[in-house]
C-alpha cells in the first residue's frame, strides 16, 4: 500500500535562525511564524503537510522537518 509522508516534528535551531521570515512566507500551509524574539516557530503544526520546503529554503540551515511514513489507510488522525 502507498505510504504517506507525515510530520513527526519540526526541529528549529534557535541559535542559527536569524528571523528572515523566508520559511514563514514560503510555507504553503501557513504553519510557521516568527515569535517575539524573531525566531521561527511551528505555530500550527496540525496543518503541516511535511513538504519540507521550509527546511530546504532556510538560508541559515536552521530547520529540520522530521518525517515518518505511514500507510495511507492508517492515517486516520484528522
Amino acid at each position: 500500500m502507498a505510504k504517506k509522508k507525515k510530520l513527526k516534528k519540526h526541529v528549529i535551531n534557535r541559535e542559527w535562525c536569524k528571523g528572515c521570515g523566508i520559511c514563514v512566507a514560503v510555507c504553503p500551509k501557513n504553519v510557521l511564524e516568527l515569535d517575539k524574539k524573531d525566531k521561527a516557530v511551528a505555530a500550527r503544526k496540525q496543518d503541516c503537510i511535511a513538504c519540507q520546503l521550509c527546511e530546504q529554503i532556510c538560508p541559515d540551515l536552521a530547520i529540520t522537518v522530521m518525517v515518518k511514513y505511514v500507510e495511507e489507510s492508517a492515517s486516520g488522525d484528522k
Partner: protein, 265 residues
C-alpha cells in the same frame, strides 16, 4: 539527510546577513551532493573573496580560499593534478565577471571539468555595495548614488560564447530547480556554469528599494520564466530560467592525459 554532516559546525551561525540568498545556495548544494552520493573526501571547493566565496569555509569538504577573482586558476591546478576530484568554484558576480572575467572565459574555452557557480546578487556585497558588471543600467549602488550607466553582462550569453559546455540559470526562490541544476552541473563532464540569482537585502536591496529578503525572493518568482515560455514573448524583460547549453566536447584533463600518452609512446 543530516545537513550537519556536511557542515563545519564550529563556524555557525554563519556570517551572512539575515535573508542573504547565499545561504540558500549552500543549503541546496549540500542536498545536491548528498543525493549524488559523492563522498566528502572527493569534493573540493575553491573560492576567491566575497560573501559568496565564504561558502567554501562552511562545508566539510576539501577547500581552498584563494584570491579575489582568481579561484578558477587555482581550481584548474587542483583539477589537472587530480582529475578524479569534483571541483566546485562558487563565485560572486564581481569575483567571477569583474576582476575574474578573464579567468572565467578561458576556463570556459578550455572546457575543463569544473563547476562554476556564479552567485549573482548584482553587487559587491562584502565591500559595501559597489556596483558590479551585473548590476545593470538604472540601478543604484554606493558607487553610483544617482544611477549606474554601465550595461550589464548576460552571464548565460557570455559563458555560452566563451565555450562553456553546460550553461544554466535559476534563482534561490526556485530551490528544487536549484538542487536539480546543481546535480546536473556537477555531473556534466566539462566546464559548467550555473548562474544563481540570489538576493543581497543589505546592499542591493536597500539601495534599490527592493524591500525585504522575502520581497526580493518573490521578485525572482515574478520576473523569471522557464526557457521558451510564451510570457517572455509578451514581456521581453522577463529573465529565463533553465538549461541553455548542454553538449559534449573533449574535456581538458582528458585531452591532456591523451597528449601525454601520445608523446610518451
Amino acid at each position: 539527510m543530516d545537513v550537519k554532516y556536511y557542515l563545519r559546525e564550529r563556524f555557525f551561525p554563519h556570517l551572512w546577513c539575515a535573508g542573504c540568498g547565499h545561504g540558500i545556495v549552500l543549503n541546496a548544494l549540500i542536498r545536491a551532493v548528498d543525493s549524488l552520493a559523492i563522498k566528502k573526501k572527493d569534493m573540493v571547493m575553491v573560492s576567491g573573496i566575497g560573501c559568496s566565496s565564504r561558502i567554501s569555509g562552511y562545508v566539510d569538504f576539501h577547500s581552498l580560499h584563494t584570491l579575489h577573482g582568481r579561484a578558477l586558476a587555482f581550481a584548474t591546478g587542483v583539477k589537472l593534478s587530480k582529475p578524479s576530484l569534483n571541483v566546485i568554484v562558487p563565485m560572486g558576480d564581481g569575483d567571477a565577471l569583474a576582476i575574474g572575467g578573464n579567468h572565467f572565459i578561458h576556463a570556459a574555452r578550455r572546457n575543463i571539468n569544473i563547476t562554476a557557480l556564479v552567485m549573482n546578487n548584482r553587487t559587491y556585497g562584502m565591500t559595501g555595495g559597489q556596483f558590479s558588471p551585473l548590476s545593470g543600467v538604472g540601478t543604484k549602488a554606493t558607487t553610483a548614488p544617482y544611477m549606474n550607466i554601465d550595461r550589464e553582462f548576460d552571464t548565460v550569453e557570455l559563458a555560452s560564447a566563451a565555450g562553456a559546455t553546460f550553461v544554466a540559470r535559476t534563482t534561490v526562490y526556485h530551490v528544487k530547480q536549484l538542487q536539480s541544476m546543481l546535480k546536473k552541473a556537477i555531473k556534466h563532464d566539462g566546464f559548467s556554469v550555473l548562474e544563481v540569482l540570489t538576493q543581497c537585502p543589505t546592499y542591493f536591496g536597500r539601495k534599490n528599494r527592493k524591500g525585504s529578503a522575502v520581497d526580493m525572493m518573490n521578485n525572482y518568482r515574478d520576473t523569471t520564466v522557464p526557457i521558451g515560455s510564451d510570457k517572455k514573448k509578451e514581456n521581453p524583460e522577463l529573465i529565463e530560467r533553465g538549461i541553455f547549453v548542454d553538449k559534449n566536447l573533449p574535456e581538458y584533463c582528458q585531452a591532456y592525459a591523451d597528449l601525454v600518452e601520445r608523446a610518451s609512446a
